[in-house]
């Protein structure tokens, strides 16, 4: 568990590139995230914020550059190379085995929940604990009960996802991610697929998680009120670069950049 007082960044993007075919999404992007920091990424769609989360979850892979020792193009997590691995003092692009090891520290909650429809709520939360963390069934079940209680769904353990509302499904997904004891939690537009009346419950659960743990969080959201409440820092992205960043009060209260002002105006008028 990283301690909040540590000075070393828990996540470091060092001149990271990502392109999809001809489309450059990230062009030499660098930033650091401190342990236990809560950072919200905002910006218009296509600005690369979701790509950043997907790179960290290894759902996408960086576009490598030559000589990463000098030229960067590397993601670091907890001081270790993440997108790359150390091979005799040289950094080479990570293989599947390294990624498997590396991504253990990271959990993700998806826009579309992605619960397993063939498993009950209980099994959704215990399955990975048992199979990837090798916990005993009892241990996994105890942990699951605790977390399902936290998200307010202890009465739904035997239901299937298709029997739950979207908001309930998303809360199960949050419990499922937390059950893996991640150091870093990625939240990718977790309320965008929900009906308006269900958003508050999910955000409430996330507020509880934020205040009761010191998990590092990277959040992509359009819920500006939520971002303001839980974030230590807001990063405004456009076209794969950081336009502006700062504390939420400053960013929402008095943004300096015109692009930030335009974006916030557009979001608020929605």
């Amino acid at each position: 568990m990283p301690s909040p007082t540590s000075n070393e960044p828990i996540i470091r993007f060092d001149r990271v590139n990502k392109s999809f075919g001809d489309l450059n999404v990230l062009n030499g992007l660098s930033f650091d995230i401190a342990p236990a920091e809560r950072v919200t990424l905002i910006g218009p769609s296509g600005s690369g914020k979701t790509t950043i989360l997907r790179l960290l979850m290894t759902l996408e892979h960086i576009t490598p550059v030559k000589h990463p020792e000098e030229n960067g193009g590397v993601m670091w997590v907890e001081g270790e190379p993440f997108s790359h691995m150390d091979k005799g003092g040289k950094l080479v692009v990570a293989n599947e085995r390294h990624l498997r090891q590396a991504r253990q520290k990271i959990g993700m909650v998806f826009q579309q929940f992605n619960l397993f429809p063939n498993m009950t709520v209980m099994r959704n939360v215990t399955e990975a604990q048992v199979h990837t963390l090798k916990r005993s069934k009892d241990e996994a079940a105890a942990k699951a009960k605790e977390l399902l209680d936290l998200v307010g769904l202890s009465d739904k353990v035997d239901n299937y996802p298709s029997q739950l509302s979207g908001g309930q499904q998303q809360r199960v997904a949050i419990a499922r991610a937390l059950a893996m004891d991640p150091d870093i939690l990625l939240l990718d537009e977790v309320t965008s697929a929900l009906d308006p009346e269900l958003v508050a419950d999910v955000l409430g659960v996330l507020r509880d998680v934020a205040s009761s743990t010191n998990i590092t969080m990277l959040i992509v959201t359009h819920e500006m009120g939520f971002a303001r409440d839980v974030s230590d820092r807001i990063m405004m992205f456009d076209k794969g670069v950081i336009v502006e960043e700062g504390a939420p009060e400053a960013m929402f209260g008095d943004p300096r950049e015109e692009r930030t002002q335009d974006f916030l105006r557009a979001v608020r008028s929605e």
Partner: protein
């Protein structure tokens, strides 16, 4: 037409009926194995795994099951020096390879139809590729496969009649044997009889598969009374439509 003669000859159909059932069940079981093996292989992202499976599938789908049956029963023993003790074994293998190749496409497309988000969740939870297949993909793909596999099982039942052409005494051969006596004038009622038998067998397969499908869908938390396609997408539908299913 002498219906009394047909009724009197019914006991003679008992053993051939078992042969028909045996050929159908054995080749269906073997075809299912072939279908999963080839379907998983053609779903692989590795070219070295995918290509040979693709070649096998195209080979068996590209040619005629009738010719394959004759080839396996008569030509292959000569060319490859493999001798089957019974024509029936050659027939079962030929039918299984042919229909297994067709069905492997059902397996492959059902696997491919599992939503991408499910695979991403597996990565996020750090499942190994085998765990992902066993715990998530196959349990979701299986109910989707059942209706198509059922169609292939019925086609296999129909194709089993071809074994009569290589001197295996199934109900078709028995009908031509009994009916063929006396210049073939009695053949018609016997052929009509076995058409009905085949239809009943097909109906049994169909009902068995329906029950299996209902059971499989309950296993993924889907009420079988819901419209059967799209049921796997229920979470997305709930997200868009806003209520509990």
């Amino acid at each position: 037409m002498d219906f009394q003669a047909v009724i009197d000859s019914l006991p003679r159909y008992a053993e051939p009926l078992l042969v028909t059932i045996q050929v159908t069940v054995a080749s269906a079981a073997l075809a299912l194995l072939v279908a999963f093996a080839l379907g998983l292989m053609t779903s692989s992202k590795h070219l070295v795994v995918r290509t040979p499976a693709r070649v096998v599938v195209e080979f068996f789908r590209g040619s005629s099951v009738v010719v394959q049956l004759f080839w396996f029963a008569i030509a292959m023993p000569v060319i490859l020096g493999i001798q089957f003790d019974y024509a029936i074994a050659a027939a079962i293998i030929a039918l299984a390879l042919n229909y297994g190749s067709y069905s492997s496409e059902v397996v492959r497309s059902a696997i491919a139809s599992v939503p991408k988000g499910q695979l991403e969740a597996c990565t996020a939870l750090n499942f190994t590729p085998i765990q992902r297949m066993r715990l998530v993909i196959l349990p979701q793909a299986w109910p989707e496969m059942i209706p198509s596999l059922c169609s292939f099982a019925i086609m296999l039942l129909k194709a089993s009649a071809l074994v009569s052409l290589i001197s295996v005494t199934d109900i078709t051969r028995m009908a031509t044997l009994i009916g063929g006596q006396g210049g073939g004038v009695n053949q018609l009622p016997h052929l009509a009889l076995i058409l009905v038998i085949y239809f009943v067998l097909a109906w049994l397969i169909w009902n068995g598969m329906r029950a299996l499908e209902r059971k499989a869908k309950r296993g993924v938390g889907i009420d079988a009374k819901l419209p059967k396609n799209r049921a796997i997408d229920a979470p997305a539908a709930a997200a868009g439509g806003g209520g509990a299913a």
